[in-house]
Amino acid sequence: MLSTQADLLATLSKDEADRVMALGRPLTMPAGSVLFDLGAPADRVFVVERGRVALTLPMQVGGVEEDVLVEEKQAGETFGWSGLVPPHRYTLKAGAAVESVVWTLPRAALLEHFAARPEIGYIVTRNLAAVIGRRLQIFQTMWLREMQRVVELRYP
């Protein structure tokens, strides 16, 4: 059951988790379909129920712009958190790597629920901070490792 596995709903009781998930709806994505584009307005958060969602950024490869994998999200993992975090624009492109099912949770419905249940809002927001923080840590580490290689190449 997704509500018990989702990182966004960690430490919530099953009932509370189900109530949060009931604010959204599942969306089936055929393999290769695009959920949102880079820069699109972000008004919802997503949780993968089944399959894999590829988060990509454009890169010039051989003079052609290609979508390069940045991160891949699997069952239980949250993405598109710009739906809850200003300035509410997706900073990556999301597409289904394989046929996938994702839960879409609209910001408006979530904020309304959090206003009525602040303790739930606190837990969900704390979980969201953990998701965002993890990505920050991973990418700052990856960035430093790449910079290390650049320095070694330039000043062997």
């Binding site: 890169m59 490869v61 051989g62 290609e66 390069v68 994998l69 991160e71 580490t141």
Partner: protein
């Protein structure tokens, strides 16, 4: 008047002869001697300093875009795994660990 004409007529052959001689000498100066021609030929055949023994620069082999994208994909996955490993146990060595990525090694 008669005297003037006599002088002019007398000096005309000398003038023509002088011009002919001058032209011939000028042409002879421009034409290289056999020795000069041989020297020039040897100089042209001698290998140039900066190109002597030089081989043409190797062009990097162009790989298909699909193969490069696959390498990039693999590189990012390996680097993410290395980053997660570092976060499990942060050490300076963890920031310099090598992966099997063909892009980086």
């Amino acid at each position: 008047m008669l005297m003037l004409l006599t002088i002019l007529l007398g000096s005309l052959p000398v003038l023509v002869l002088g011009c002919a001689l001058f032209v011939r000498l000028a042409q002879a100066e421009g034409r290289p001697t056999a020795e000069e021609r041989q020297t020039t030929r040897r100089a042209l055949q001698r290998p140039r300093f900066f190109t002597a023994g030089a081989t043409p620069p190797l062009r990097p082999a162009r790989i298909p875009v699909e193969a490069l994208l696959s390498q990039i994909d693999r590189h990012i996955r390996l680097e993410q795994a290395a980053a997660e490993s570092f976060l499990e146990c942060p050490t300076p060595e963890g920031l310099r660990s090598r992966t099997l990525s063909t892009l980086a090694n």
